[in-house]
């Protein structure tokens, strides 16, 4: 199977004066259409790794290949297009735009891509909002819904452009275990139906164990890599 995302010899060192190495020689190849989980203790380097995968952060050394293209060779606008069309982010902190409604937030990636919204896009956004159970609050401003609802809106937003890869950093961190289960099933459905590749950082062992592959990070190194497929 073809790998959609590949990390080669990734090192990450923070700081100029006081250097802290966070990632050590990480090599990873993610296969297209798989559902992957990343686990590890707090501070082990999971978020750093995910941000590097998503081209938001740059490794100190090493290569990141998305769909076979080295992102080092991509210029700003190309990287922007990659983040908009190929990658969907669900951040640890939900990060909706507070000036916009939940629906407008979900539509934002579409608008960035096309410059405007279409009727079909609105229909699709509403479907995703319905899937995450937000149809009743979709016209509320982002600040006027609960933390859990904001996180679900952020999930709907990540799905909007139907990206090939979704990177999620503890996407169910704020949700109770029932909602966590529902969201997980939803992401799994999307994975099956659209073939979207998922890389999810999670604390929840039940979710981690249901993934096709479970990668454990410890002190900035891949400690364990369990592939069940």
């Amino acid at each position: 199977m073809m790998s959609i995302l590949e990390l080669k010899n990734i090192e990450k060192i923070y700081g100029n004066e006081i250097k802290t190495q966070v990632l050590y020689n990480v090599n990873l190849s993610i296969e297209k259409g798989t559902f992957n989980s990343i686990i590890g203790q707090s501070g082990s380097g999971k978020t750093t790794l995910l941000n590097i995968m998503g081209t938001l952060d740059k490794p100190t050394s090493g290569e990141v290949m998305v769909n076979g293209t080295n992102v080092k060779q991509m210029h700003n606008n190309k990287l922007s297009a990659l983040r908009n069309e190929t990658i969907g982010f669900i951040f640890q902190f939900h990060y909706l735009l507070p000036e916009f409604t939940a629906l407008e937030n979900v539509l934002m990636p579409y608008q960035i891509k096309h410059g405007k919204v279409s009727k079909d896009a609105i229909k699709k956004a509403k479907e995703y909002l319905h899937l995450v159970g937000l149809e009743n609050v979709m016209n509320n401003m982002a600040t006027k819904i609960s933390g859990g609802q904001q996180q679900r809106a952020a999930i709907a937003r990540a799905l909007m452009n139907e990206p090939q890869i979704i990177l999620a950093d503890e996407p169910t961190g704020n949700l109770d275990s029932d909602s966590t289960e529902v969201i997980y099933e939803l992401l799994r459905d999307i994975n099956h139906q659209l073939g979207t590749t998922f890389i999810i950082i999670t604390h929840d062992n039940r979710i981690a164990e249901k993934a096709d592959r479970m990668i454990e990070i410890k002190d900035g190194r891949i400690y364990q890599d369990v592939n069940k497929k």
Binding site: N51, S80, E99, I112
Partner: protein
């Protein structure tokens, strides 16, 4: 672009209080600019109007000994084709004489005019205080000051003695008031025919006088030199009001410069105000910009957000400022009146000037948004994501 505008509008709407405050700031700047501009332009216009509104602005005289211009009709036809801004042309036959009335006598300048064309320049008809304009042969009108000084009555007959010792009896049919004492004392106005009769001019005149259209008021020097060139006659002297009023002109220039200075400083304070507020906005919105960039918005699109903020603020600031400025100006012209009902401050409301002031305010607002736009361009999303 469209998304940039949409986000900008939403950002401004969500901080409505701050937005209104900046718009008010711009509006006050624009209104001060419009008010001061209208004031200075109004003052200058009324000053120029008072000085040359009822006077010859370009005058052609003869530099020959007898001061006579003979073939003037041909000349006028030619002058009319020289510059479109030449508006009114009149001729005058001016000759000195001695006036005798009873015991009193004094020297006087007899000015023979073609009534209709001269009226367009000097507005004589409105300035006749008593009686009528001279129509018949050997009728003249005198200044109101002479009437008072010598107790001359309407229809009195007095004598004019020419430099050739010829005496002619003339009838006073009216009194004028040109609002300038020296003219009211020293001019006797009559028709070209009467002047011709008294001084034996054989149809010659002594000067051709002109007014130009408003657009040419400050170009009379250029127009005059064009006339000089076209007529190409060494026997003629052509002067224009600008040469004769250099002090007035330098006064006007000084006024204009100080008016521009004030306007420029108002603009600078507007720029600094907008730039500093927008700079704060970038910080306030850095989280949003970071999220948008993580979602793949282009760097350029985020800078459009701030340019559009500048544009929107400038647009509404300009509109409101124009309304304020016009309101203030109208209030001044309507309510601050002299006892005779004329405005204390003669404002000149020029729509092109107001429109330009508005456009400049908009341009300046966009300019002020350049720094915040640049900062948003450089903003790295990871710094936002990492530091939540």
């Amino acid at each position: 672009m469209k998304l940039g505008y949409k986000i900008a509008a939403r950002f401004l709407k969500s901080n409505l209080g701050q937005t209104i405050l900046i718009i008010l700031g711009i509006a006050i700047g624009v209104s001060v600019q419009i008010f001061i501009g209208s004031l200075i332009q109004g003052l200058q216009k009324s000053l120029v109007e008072k000085t040359i509104g009822d006077a010859s602005q370009i005058t052609i005289t003869s530099s020959t000994d007898d001061k006579e211009i003979v073939d003037y009709e041909e000349m006028i036809k030619q002058i009319q084709t020289i510059d479109q801004r030449i508006d009114k042309i009149s001729v005058a036959a001016d000759h000195p004489a001695f006036l005798e009335y009873g015991e009193n006598s004094q020297s006087i300048l007899v000015r023979g005019f073609d009534i209709e064309s001269a009226d367009e320049i000097y507005n004589f008809v409105d300035r006749i205080e008593e009686g009528t304009y001279p129509y018949n042969l050997n009728e003249i009108i005198l200044g109101i000051d002479l009437k008072e000084e010598y107790g001359i009555q309407l229809n009195d007959v007095l004598s004019l003695i020419t430099t050739n010792q010829k005496t002619v009896k003339v009838k006073v049919v009216g009194f004028f008031d040109l609002k300038v004492a020296s003219l009211n004392k020293n001019w006797a106005i009559t028709t070209l025919e009467t002047a011709g009769n008294i001084f034996n001019t054989r149809g010659s005149i002594t000067s051709i006088e002109m007014q130009v259209k408003e657009s040419g008021i400050f170009s009379t020097d250029i127009i005059a030199s064009k006339i000089t060139q076209e007529l190409n006659n060494d026997a003629l002297t052509i002067v224009n009001w600008k040469e004769q009023n250099e002090q007035l002109l330098s006064g006007l220039e000084g006024q204009s410069i100080s008016s521009y200075m004030i306007q420029v400083f108002v603009l600078i304070s507007v720029i600094l105000g907008i730039a500093s507020v927008l700079a704060i906005t970038v910080m306030q919105k850095s989280k949003q910009i970071g999220i948008l960039k993580a979602m793949g918005i282009r760097n350029s699109a985020t800078s459009y957000v701030f340019l559009f903020e500048g544009l929107i603020l400038g647009f509404f600031g300009a509109i409101l400022g124009i309304l304020f400025g016009l309101g203030l100006s109208v209030a001044f012209t309507k309510f601050a009146l002299n006892t005779d009902g004329t405005p204390v401050i003669p404002l000149f409301i020029s729509y092109p000037f107001i429109f330009t002031s508005g456009l400049i305010a908009i341009a300046v607002s966009v300019l002020a948004a350049l720094i915040p736009a640049y900062r948003s361009l450089k903003l790295n999303p990871i710094d936002i994501i990492r530091n939540h």
